[in-house]
Symmetry: C2
Subunit: 294 residues, 2 copies
Amino acid sequence: MGANMARRLKEVGYKVTAVHDINKGAAVALGKEIGAEACNKLTRVTELADVIITVVTDDKAQLALFAAKGDSLLKGKKGVAKGRVFVNCATVSPDIHIKVEKLVKKAGARSLEGCMASSINQARTGTLYLMVGGDLETYEDVKPILSKLSDDGKLMRRIGKTGQAAQLKALVNMVMNINTAGLAEGLGLANSLGLDLKTVMEVFSQTGANSRVLATDGDDMVNRDHSCFFSAAHAAKDSGIALGIAKKQKLKLPLATATFAQYTKLTKLGYGALDKSGIAELTFKGRGASTKKK
Amino acid sequence: MGANMARRLKEVGYKVTAVHDINKGAAVALGKEIGAEACNKLTRVTELADVIITVVTDDKAQLALFAAKGDSLLKGKKGVAKGRVFVNCATVSPDIHIKVEKLVKKAGARSLEGCMASSINQARTGTLYLMVGGDLETYEDVKPILSKLSDDGKLMRRIGKTGQAAQLKALVNMVMNINTAGLAEGLGLANSLGLDLKTVMEVFSQTGANSRVLATDGDDMVNRDHSCFFSAAHAAKDSGIALGIAKKQKLKLPLATATFAQYTKLTKLGYGALDKSGIAELTFKGRGASTKKK
């Protein structure tokens, strides 16, 4: 994800000065490709760049980037982070963005949430759907850069203050995952009845059963093509974040709960690296995951 | 539904000879409006018409129309049903269509399933989405009439033999209900967080959270406009039919199960007459149904 964003920014004329990856080899290769320094230490990234875009896997990794101890984006030379803007694009809990914002402010820097509702291909082509949370002024300052990642800004929205973009992102993925798990049930049942799945999908597409995931995941469910754009493990994680928010709001969400359980089950069965469409492996008779016990 | 189909057929030049309704007054009014006889007895409908379209509320009512005892479409003068074609448009269990087909055959008549995936307005304008099940020959025979109800046939598909259209219809509604109940969870949670719901729906519409029900039910959920196109009680019934089919197939469908429970709960709380969008009354804080105990 981050690599493709860097490629895109380089392509449209930005100087990408530094890259970093926990997989050092990936960083070196990318650095060579786009003429950036592959940094050994996070603090070196902050030294080299005015605007730093981060994409990590989860809450813990996001916090670690800004940790007070060890190597982090805020450590190193005194005042190194001053005036920097950190744009944090991973899907993490809203609270984490608020914590990060506090840490960053203390270091004399600023931060934004840049939650993405798209996938690797969109990162490469600069057509990410970006939901931005944070200070309006900071948003305006980095808008030119972020616009180049979001179809000249047509796919970018400022949602509100820090934390609110992550909330909305969690809601988007919660609803998307529900629709995906629901579609897998519909197609799985249709398949068990011997209905023609092409006709079924065509009828779904023209009726109240239509959804974005029918277009993106329907064929993949039928063809068992689960090459990964957005993994089942991530789907479990994101539905979990949404349920955590709901719990704080004292809201019971039975469908989100059932969806979280399905993706968690799929992940525990060893299929977490499949695309989210892989949930169909649980609902089509005779497929791997449907025949295993948890 | 039936009344609007009759109005449409009359409008495009068909002679609608007979109408019947368990609400006698409705039949009389409609009969006057379109120049048809408002029949007291079902058997009189069969006497007057070559092609009889039925729309009832549930399995029991569908079977009763073709009952061997009492007033039914197959009783009355000996051989009255001979050569007639019955097109049964209600959403009922697939097995019921198969039973009806047997009863009708015995009486020397023929039948088709004409499952509808649309609502009252589409019946009036002749733009119903029709999924037809049954004999190919019978289908061809009544195609001209049914085409006038389905945008000159553009919205009509023959799905397969009798029972299969009802199966697919149950699947369509199962998935639609899942998406609707899921959307209500997303919007309810967004509302509890104080997010701007217009922005939320716009973001949903441009991301993986998009669905047909977002367009048809999103605003209604926010505005609590639950005037009925497709009732919550019907949603419960249809999800129940799908789960019945799944049970026979030995498939476990957690999302369909959760959706059925939500619509059943809403109905038991006394909100079954609301539109299916009324499910949001369960997921928005402080709304009527969300504060009641079952």
